[in-house]
Amino acid sequence: MSSVVVPTSAALGRPFLFDAESEAEECLLPAEVKRPSSYASPSESVIASVQSKIGNRQSAIPLTPASRLEARPAPEMVTSGIVELDALTGGLPRGCLTEICGIASSGRTSVMLATLAAATRRGEYCALIDASDALDPQSVAASGIDLDRLLWVRCNDTALRKFQRTEKSTSRVPTAHEPGFMSTSFDFEKKNSHQSEHRLEQVLRATDLLLESGGFGLIVLDLADVLPQSARRIPLTTWFRFRRAVEDKPTMLLVMEQQPIAGSCSSLLLKLSAAKRRQNAAQGASRGSEIGDVKAQVERNKNRSKDCESLVPTHAHLLSSLEFNAELVCYRLNRKPAQSIAFETQAAWTG
């Protein structure tokens, strides 16, 4: 089968097919696929067929060429509370779904609290749907969040535990000599999976209710401790529904997770990770730990130059100036190249 590459109108910079006013230029086609002379211009034939369907009334609905459709206005960008992140993305977009993913200790919660603090400083009301009930009140207060403007929804598996307790009381626990004993680990994972799904159900229902209620400037879904395999079970239609719910509204929807799960429904995707310095320091530390002398390791590191990447944090500075990397993975609002930036967080007890 032969194939002919036909350059598209967009690629050639020509008007769209349905543009009524301007005529399409003749394509440079090979001779064997040259169109017959009786073939009318597609734009005229299509317009004529549409007009015949709606009737030849004087007050017929005017057809608007696709090239003249008004572009959706760019959403308002607001600060995330971290200067470096704002420089990377321009802020967080209102009326859009934003994902921030990363593994444990990659800075997700710090970014989340900074965003909440910035939103409450602006006088907005925020909602945090906590799938794992992991919010630390002291961290919240230290971040500068206005507690009166933060609604905290603590998901739990109490109802599921009651159900499981009922089941357990009726079933016998297998002993070591009975088949089914080796399935305890599987049951444990299965139990965790059930708990995750139950909490996810609570998260989704609470999110639906809050989006319907309206009035919140920022709604955060904290799925950071939810297993990726459970989080991926949320259907894309749900994310699409959430996105449509915040469109044309001043509400930001922020999802914290371990891996991206919203697909094309998210307008902005950030990936957080530990700074390379920390990773190298960890490798250096692990090499040092083979010798088993922590003090010697610290001494060795002190003797190295400051530019050396293997910098081991000292006792008092373990958590101060933690460095993280933020990588802009996807930005659908404005074409931006993938880039990353580093930012620091301070411990709550530092000045």
């Binding site: 607001v78 600060t79 509370g81 200067v83 593994i103 200790s105 990659s106 919660t109 710090s110 609290l113 900074a114 910035a118 400083r121 602006r122 006088g123 907005e124 009301y125 794992s132 919010l135 630390d136 009140p137 002291q138 961290s139 919240v140 207060a141 230290a142 971040s143 206005d146 507690l147 609604l151 905290w152 603590r154 998901c155 739990n156 109802a159 609570q202 229902r205 609470a206 209710l209 319907e212 209620s213 009035g215 950071a224 001043p250 509400t251 530990a274 990773q279 960890a282 692990s286 730990s289 944090p313 373990l318 958590l319 101060s320 933690l322 930012f343 967080t345 301070q346 411990a347 709550a348």
Partner: protein
Amino acid sequence: MVFMPFACIYIPNFTIAAALRVEPELQAYAIAIFEGKAPLEKIVAVNENAIELGIAPGMSTSQGELCSELVLRQRSPLHESSAHAALIDCAQSFSPCVEDSACDTVLLDLAGMESLLGSVPQISRAIFERAAALGLRANIAAASNPDAALLAARGFSGITVIPAGREAEHLGPLPVPVLFAEQLNGDEKEGAESLLATIERWGIRNLRSLAALPEVALSERLGQRGLHLQQLARGGALRALASVEAPLIFEEAVELEHPVVLLEPLAFLLNRLLEQVCARLASRALATQELRLTLELSNLTGIDDDYENIGIPSESDGSVATQTASQIISSRQTKFTRNLSLPLPMLDAKVFLKLLQLDLNAHPPGAPIIKIHLAAEPARPRSAQGGLFLPPAPEPEKLELTLARIAGIVGENRVGALELLDTHHPEGFRMRRFVAEAARKTPQKQTPDSSEAQAAITALRRLRPPLRVNVLLENGQPARLNCPKKKEVQGEVLWKAGPWRSSGDWWECDAWSRDEWDIAVRDGNAVSFYRLVHDLLGGGWFVEGTYD
């Protein structure tokens, strides 16, 4: 002469009207109200449809039951007091000076109200419509003195406005018994009947004839009382109103013919009560911040397997209901009370109904309901100044409903705002009600200024409950840890900081004392930071959270 208008609101056939206020769907039926103890129950009031069927007051209920089309209802003082309270509320929404003449009659002083509410006919029309909104079909009359207005309201149906100086002309056609309406139903019944009989023997049938009698002759035969009656008939009696300050009590109640078991029909009844309460509050320009629902439950007798699960402990003023059927017999639990406290004064019957439904779903009464009593605590309506440039805020009514629904999903006390307690305990916080008051606090910054933003804080993600771990110590410091429940939390401790010791509540039963470590553990290619806690009292090691 300055025209000082007075108005009278009169509810004809008040007993029937009070019953119809609770069950408006019976309007098209023939209704008879009875009272008394069986088997000596007597019919005390009937409506027009029942009169057409030949039913009259004084008949026994057994006679009434012979008529299949007749609807019999027992007289309810509760319904009548609610109707009377609604009548007072209606009157006080138009004038601060209101006289409570009888259970079915109130008088208003409209002096000075014309500049606010319009002309006297307009005010009369508004009173009529307001009474209808409260479920009462009233006769409204306005005149230059209270007694003339009262007679006109009792004698003429609908709206009557008597111009000043023409009272005698308008009241003339009214029959003489209208002068004795109050006395005939009260303690002075015998005296009033004899006086009425005397007047009727003279051939006096209407007020015009009574007004035309010579005063001297009338006083010689009937005394001062006769002269007073003549003055009333002429519409010339002047007196001041004995105004009453009605207490701000907004309660509605309904007694049920058959016990209600399901929540759906209960919601229907609650909706009606809520609408009436809200209408009464609105007539007084008030809102409510607390609703009190009291359900009287049927006192179960006899053993019934269907009711085994009904003995669910709930709020009551009696003993806690027990679980077994035999003990239900002796249960004295008869009342079930729920208090609905609102964050802000509100006046939306639909929102109240939804909140009550959600609350009853979470806390069902546990027994059939025979009586519903709803009370609203009045409060000043909230006033909020809106603005074009204020940040968005949730609507209080919507928010309250949303929070109630979320509480039904995640559980009570698991949704709300965070409040830190004055303690060093790591979990020293509590959940409190989340209230969105946009005007209460002004935002700190009108425009975001990143240069003035606080630096990001290294946040902790708590593990609730904390993970128990096994820790290998070297020189008294954690060197390696292992968590049976979570594989990621195990490995060699790369870096550590601590210990930081804290303790508290040593004077309480739940004293605590702990050493905290911040540690870094390698997990594959990544390093994770944890807070490791050594419980000095219990002796265990726990991972309390992850620094993220």
